[in-house]
């Protein structure tokens, strides 16, 4: 079943230097329960695409539909995790996670058990009453993911969710996300410039062109992910696919500003 369907999406921005085309004819289909990642050079419009899916900004032309319904604005069927976390700094960890439950009308009595379970899941017991400014980047991102999971959206939209984290924390968070997705089988659309991350996590990687962005290539990632991180990363298969994707992104980046290179990592 097709969960997200995007047809011939166009978007232009008005900037100081006149109009800039961000997206020029994006087509995309994401199946129910699929994990799709969009990679591309910086400024290729991949975040714009995600924000349109989120309903935060409108497209100039083309259609976006979720389960056949056109997207008209933000909705709780699509949970969004931003690179900068976007936690409410005036709410504690527990209050941030509870927020979506309040807004989506989850009965009062059911809220606390959900919040407690999620805090345990993300390993932040003892930090329930801390404010975001007292947390590390990795902890903040855990809270951001937890508060999105709290109200159980069908779709997760992840905008470079681990981009602001150090390498080690990023890997831990990737593993947590992978386990989470394997357990819940939510439909995930992630945007990143990290090719390793894209290949490690997703079932399908889409490569976007230099601005104005279009999806120019896609790679089904058929790798075994049941074991530990090393078992996946250190395989011939993973490296072959990773290199293919990396070359495809590099080719796109090379067409524009040569200083924009995708990062492939060193594993």
């Amino acid at each position: 079943m097709i969960r997200i369907c995007v047809r011939d999406l166009h978007k232009r921005y008005r900037s100081r230097d006149g109009e800039v085309a961000a997206l020029a004819g994006v087509d995309l289909e994401v199946a129910e329960g699929e994990f799709v990642t969009i990679v591309g050079p910086s400024g290729c419009g991949k975040s714009t695409l995600l924000y349109i899916l989120g309903g935060f900004i409108g497209a100039d032309s083309g259609t976006v539909a979720v389960d056949g319904e056109p997207v008209a604005g933000p909705g709780v069927d699509r949970g969004v995790v931003f690179q900068e976390y976007a936690l409410f700094p005036w709410l504690t960890v527990a209050q941030n996670i509870r927020y979506g439950l309040e807004m989506t009308g989850v009965p009062r009595a059911e809220r606390s058990p959900i919040v407690e379970r999620l805090i345990a899941t993300i390993g932040l017991e003892g930090f329930e009453h801390r404010f975001p400014r007292e947390l590390s980047g990795g902890m903040k991102q855990r809270v951001a993911i937890a508060r999105t999971l709290a109200y159980d959206p069908k779709i997760l939209l992840l905008d470079e969710p681990f981009g602001a984290l150090d390498a080690l924390t990023r890997e831990t968070m990737q593993d947590e996300l992978l386990r989470l997705w394997q357990a819940t089988r939510k439909t995930v659309v992630m945007v990143t410039h990290d090719v390793n991350e894209a290949v490690y996590l997703s079932e399908r990687v889409l490569v976007m062109s230099q601005r104005p962005g279009r999806i120019v290539q896609q790679f089904p990632i058929a790798i075994e992910r049941s074991g530990e991180r090393e078992q996946t990363i250190l395989t011939e298969r993973f490296n072959t696919v990773r290199n293919e994707v990396w070359l495809a992104v590099r080719r796109q980046a090379g067409k524009g500003d040569a200083s924009e290179r995708p990062s492939a990592g060193t594993s």
Partner: protein, 274 residues
């Protein structure tokens, strides 16, 4: 909650509360000492400036007779009522201006032209309209408190990151609920800073309005004693206002620290808010 290890706090804040208190009251003590010595040594004529001990004696006398309490209560009531009304209106107007182009177009020019107008200059007009008493006094205070709160609310709301609004909307927050669940808390530091400025204005304006448009109040008392040349009593009235205004400011500051304990800049605010 731990202090950020950024060394932002000034040396005086690392010292204990006692040393801090002494350090802060030292300039006031020096001022009083110089004042007392200057008058005591006949450097300044007593008819122009009463000595400190005479002011203290006058304050004590007025406190015992009850004269000061009644007038102080009336003035505090006027100042705080004006502050409350002005702040609430200011937050509402500032919020409207920051979120609606139409409201901005309507209130923007009005705020711009009235911002630098001394509000006390309107008192004679208000006397004509509302006569002498509470309405005139409070209205003057409302107007004076309104503008700083409008401006600080407006800028505070505009500075709330769009990402916070987006994530609130994504989590199912209705558009109008975003106002009080996201924009107001996000702008709280700025709003309360505006209220703190307004708190200063509310006493200034209460006293100046009472001087010309009241039968009671500390302003009236100061005015009467000044007219009659009872300068020690006049200074006593002034002193009472200074004490109340200072106490109110400290109380608001303490409230701000608590309400904004989540804020990144709360420690920086400690350093500036003195």
């Amino acid at each position: 909650m731990s202090d950020p290890p950024d060394g932002l706090e000034r040396p005086s804040e690392r010292a204990g509360p006692w040393r801090r208190g002494i350090r802060r009251s030292l300039p006031v003590a020096i001022l009083l000492l110089v004042w007392q010595l200057a008058v005591g040594s006949d450097l300044i004529d007593r008819t122009f400036l009463p000595p400190v001990d005479a002011v203290v004696a006058a304050l004590w006398e007025m406190a015992r007779s009850g004269e000061i309490w009644l007038n102080l209560a009336v003035s505090i009531w006027r100042a705080f009522t004006g502050l409350a009304i002005g702040s609430l209106l200011g937050v509402a107007i500032g919020l409207a201006m920051a979120t609606s182009r139409r409201a901005d177009g309507f209130f923007g020019p009005l705020v711009a032209i009235t911002y630098s107008l001394p509000k006390s200059s309107l008192v004679p007009l208000f006397i004509l309209w509302f006569g002498i008493g509470d309405v005139t006094d409070i209205l003057t205070v409302v107007l004076a408190c309104l503008l700083p709160v409008i401006v600080s609310t407006y800028h505070g709301v505009q500075a709330v990151p769009a990402l916070l609004v987006w994530s609130a909307r994504a989590m199912g927050t209705p558009r109008h609920t975003v106002l009080w669940r996201v924009l107001l808390p996000g702008a709280l530091l700025s709003i309360l800073t505006g209220v703190r400025i307004a708190l200063g204005f509310c006493f200034v304006l209460t006293i100046s309005a009472e001087m010309i448009a009241a039968k009671t109040g500390i302003g009236k008392l100061i005015f009467l004693y000044g007219e009659n040349g009872a300068y020690a009593h006049m200074f006593a009235g002034l002193t009472a206002v200074v004490i109340v205004a200072y106490g109110a400011d400290r109380a608001l500051l303490a409230a701000m620290r608590h309400l904004l304990r989540w804020h990144d800049s709360v420690h920086a605010a400690h350093a500036h808010a003195r």
